[in-house]
């Protein structure tokens, strides 16, 4: 298991390779990317910031919880901070297991927990030049994903 907060572009293939092992028959990954629309507004980019020490602690805790909840799973997660353009990856999670159900479930667990408790924030930049902090607690559930 490993978690990191990084300032460089993410590499999903590298994380898939990191959890690969001949005892694993199933590997899943999740890539979260900056989308061009949010809550009906046209987005041009996103700034991610973090309380880095705490975010790293929480992310490591979540990855460890995933491996404890799905015994045999190997999980790695990297979250990027800084200014990201449209389509760039903000988070990548890779999870491997002997079998596919826990590989999927471990990956899903990490992204759901990450969104609940890792102190990372994002400010959207809109095509009209304005910007706003994203507050998932203030949005309709439909608009709050991913």
């Amino acid at each position: 298991m490993r978690a990191a907060i990084v300032q460089r572009p993410l590499d999903a293939a590298a994380l898939l390779a990191e959890v690969a092992a001949v005892g694993h028959g199933a590997t899943t990954c999740f890539v979260g990317t900056v989308r061009d629309t949010h809550a009906g507004r046209h987005v041009s980019g996103m700034d991610y910031s973090a309380y880095e020490a705490m975010a790293l602690h929480e992310l490591n805790a979540i990855v460890a919880e995933a491996e404890a909840r799905f015994p045999g799973a190997q999980v790695v997660c990297e979250h990027r901070t800084g200014a990201l353009g449209l389509g760039e990856a903000s988070v990548v999670i890779a999870a491997a297991h002997a079998h596919r159900a826990p590989a999927f479930d471990a990956c899903r667990f990490v992204i759901e927990e990450l969104k609940q408790r890792v102190p990372i924030w994002k400010r959207e930049h809109y095509v009209d030049g304005t910007r706003a902090w994203v507050d998932p607690t203030a949005m309709a559930p439909e608009g709050s994903h991913p």
Binding site: A50, A55, V91, K115, R117, P119, I120, W121, W133, D135
Partner: protein, 80 residues
């Protein structure tokens, strides 16, 4: 000796700074930190009960604080 109070994202923007020093009385709690913050310009944009952390771990407002602690006021998280 004062504690550091860290502000992030929309809260840092609201108060116009990302760190505040606060010199706690004996037996002070995080609630006292928040009460102090609410005397500062822009603090009306903080919610009634923000998430808080002490030394990079989630905490509750009734938790005691100690000299040298790093307190953080945590806006709604939006990672991923």
């Amino acid at each position: 000796m004062p504690v550091r109070v860290l502000l992030f994202a929309s809260y840092a923007e609201a108060l116009g700074r990302d760190e505040v020093a606060f010199d706690p009385a004996d037996e002070a709690t995080i609630a006292d930190v928040l009460a102090h913050l609410r005397t500062l310009p822009g603090a009306d944009r903080l919610p009634p009960r923000p998430l808080v952390a002490v030394n990079a771990r989630y905490a509750t407002v009734t938790d005691a604080i100690r000299s040298g602690d790093e307190i953080a006021i945590i806006p709604p998280v939006a990672g991923g």
